[in-house]
Symmetry: C2
Subunit: 437 residues, 2 copies
């Protein structure tokens, strides 16, 4: 309709032009410069108006059909295939997705034949310039969706999405989710939130605002526009668990007034809000409780153990182990998580679902793998533990297995080298950057 108005308006303008006082060089302007009735008369005569209308219809038809035309031209998909091969994954010509039996998620949506009304999806990813977010965006774009990233770049980096700049199906909005925003989309992946202790402790009050006001704003948006909303919660809602492994039914053991509480309690209340919007307003919601995840594009110095160890080993520094190194963690490779998030969003179950790799490693075992992968001469250095650091955590993922048909596929020994390639490049660039300055 908009196009139609535009067309007809410009058509009218073209016809009226002669009647206005244009420069004397125009021969028509000599005739009778101010006679509007005569011009109108001219337009109405000899079916000129009818042809204008036909022109309008042709023009409008083109614009109305255009979206479905462009979605079937394969351009986006091809350009992504190219881009994927130069992303941070270090596996040129071979994408991480689609190699591990996830085909069913890759083909479901987006690429419909011309003429069938099933549009591709419009999806918002908040925090889409971050570690997990940028991998999720790659996957959604590759699948054929329109993706809008909302990010305030607190911990996110343009480098994580720069390969998508110029892709018409990708859009980046610099925006803080603490402020409301109005968009028209079908799905909202809500990831915006600093995820590592150094970052979320930096300004604890802001962390709570991001979790509460940010989640409120995105739930409000979902309610207003009827979008489906997915919250990326965290295994930290289990705190320092007294049950092991943790099932989704476990209520957790969290210190409400500690230095990590801004994140743990912030995420818990974000879950509460999500369920309240679901129960009270019928918003379609999904909740993922994400366990430790690693992979390319992680922050280099965010204090998370995998990135710490890898960066330290590459830089030939001793790997810092807090406490006695016997606390365990489970480590999930990022592409596994991305498939889990998409399976959850597309599925019929609200959750919460644990998304994590149940394979357990002590800090010392992890150090050993890093050593093997990067540098057999790497050493370990012990430091006292930080307050409230949970002793062990391991997901029970039977619910996700059963209801989402999902489970992680990539082992630490498979995943770590891919991350190391990315880290090595970035640390090298860092050093070169320093050297050339």
């Amino acid at each position: 309709m908009k196009q139609l108005h535009k067309q007809s308006a410009s058509a009218r303008k073209d016809e009226e032009m002669p009647a206005s006082d244009t420069p004397p060089y125009s021969p028509k302007s000599l005739k009778n410069p101010r006679s509007l009735p005569r011009s109108l008369n001219y337009i109405l005569k000899e079916q000129r108006l009818l042809f204008v209308l036909i022109g309008i219809v042709i023009g409008a038809t083109f614009f109305i059909l255009q979206p479905s035309l462009s979605s079937s031209d394969g351009r986006g998909v091809i350009s992504i295939a190219n881009r994927e091969s130069i992303d941070g994954l270090g596996h040129r010509g071979q994408t991480d997705f689609g190699r591990h039996g996830y085909g069913k998620y890759t083909n479901g949506v987006g690429r419909v034949p011309v003429g069938i009304g099933n549009r591709r999806k419009r999806i918002v990813v908040t925090g889409g310039a971050g570690f997990v977010g940028s991998h999720l965006v790659d996957k959604l774009i590759a699948r054929g969706d329109d993706v809008i990233v909302i990010d305030n770049f607190f911990t996110g980096r343009k480098e994580n999405v720069v390969h998508l700049f110029g892709n018409p199906r990708f859009e980046l909005i610099r925006h803080d989710v603490v402020e409301p925003i109005l968009l028209e989309v079908d799905q909202i992946y809500h990831l915006a939130c600093p995820a590592s202790p150094v970052h979320y402790k930096h300004n604890p009050v802001k962390t709570i605002k991001t979790n509460v006001m940010g989640t409120l704003n995105m739930l409000g948006l979902a309610k207003r526009i009827g979008a489906r909303f997915l919250l990326t919660s965290t295994s930290e809602v289990y705190g320092d668990p007294l049950e092991h492994p943790q099932k989704e039914t476990y209520w957790g053991h969290v210190n409400p007034i500690g230095v990590r509480s801004c994140y743990d309690e912030g995420k818990r209340v974000a879950e509460t809000l999500t369920m309240d919007y679901h129960r009270g307003d019928g918003v379609e919601v999904r909740i993922a409780r994400i366990f430790n995840t690693y992979g390319p594009r992680m922050c280099l110095d965010d204090g998370r153990v995998v990135s710490n160890f890898v960066a330290q080993a590459i830089r030939k520094q001793p790997m810092t182990v807090y406490g006695d190194g016997k606390q365990t963690r489970s480590f999930q490779y990022v592409s596994d998580l991305v498939y889990g998030l998409i399976a959850l969003m597309e599925g019929e179950h609200i959750g919460p679902f644990n998304l994590g790799n149940p394979g357990e490693f002590t800090m010392l075992e992890l150090a050993e793998v890093v050593k093997e992968t990067i540098d057999p001469s790497a050493t370990v250095e012990f430091k006292p533990n930080t307050a409230d650091d949970p002793h062990k955590r391991k997901p029970d993922i039977s619910k996700a297995k059963e209801l989402l048909n999902w489970e992680p596929k990539i082992s630490l020994k498979e995943g770590l080298p891919r991350m190391v390639d990315d880290f090595r490049n970035r640390i090298l660039n860092e050093d070169e950057g320093r050297g050339s300055r």
Copy 2:
């Protein structure tokens, strides 16, 4: 300074008066009505100006001293004594406060001799028109402080504070704490929040907003103006506790996604925010974890067990017991709580502190006491339990005993009759109101 300007301005006016065109009855006006230089000359001659200045100083001194003069005139205290005797407590001529050995809190502040600079305190009580808040306000006014109540009247009632209307040391602002407010005060008691399940479940998202944005706003205010801030948290932060009785060090057992979570998680995150403002911004904070409290001015039909039983027994209805009636609760009389809150605010310890009565009663025992007090023929009716209702809860108050020198004094058998008097009056008025309509 303001007074000084005022004085001198009016002094000048008096002197200039003759020079303006006043009625001809003034003999001076006949001389030279418009000669300003001559008038000035007249003022400056014969030390007239000097005397004006002396007058200014005398006047200003009076106004500067006035606040401390009026605080020692005993007016406020007398009017409160009168008012207390007609409040909802049903004990005419005898106030609830000051009978149970709390003298030390009653005399500390406010009534200082003339000339000593120690002003009375300016105190904000958010939620001050509610059950607990209105009793706290009574106590603070009786002590001689200036009190500002902020309330949106969601569950509060004007009746609870109407006896203070017209008292110059009392002020009522209709305001929702979800919006920021700017005031100049010394202390902030932050109570604003619906406290009973029927009310906080009514709009769970609003309950979270009140707890998070409300607490943020009041902490922001405290930071800006350097006020001390007290949060009224709740025993609900312990959830359905696995430890019994609950110490302040217990992290709790709370369902993050249940129907009560808006309150439990909302209060937990309010505690987190409070501690983060303390750690990060040096705000002086206090945290009270309040256990079940009862007394006059409780809502009649708020679903809390004491008010339910009492109202039902007075109305000759069977008392509703949820579940098997064997879950226990501790019940604290409201004046005990008010003394605890003031002791906490005035003391040197941050908390959190449990404020509750450790005396444990099962629902069936409570029903028995109500029966004895109100109506020996009262009956009990059993209904299925509501979701997430904690099975038992009992405060360990040794920390408050030791550090605040506080413990509850009023037993259920003492406190219940006072509440019953108030409830009987209100239910009677209700019935009369209905009858006359």
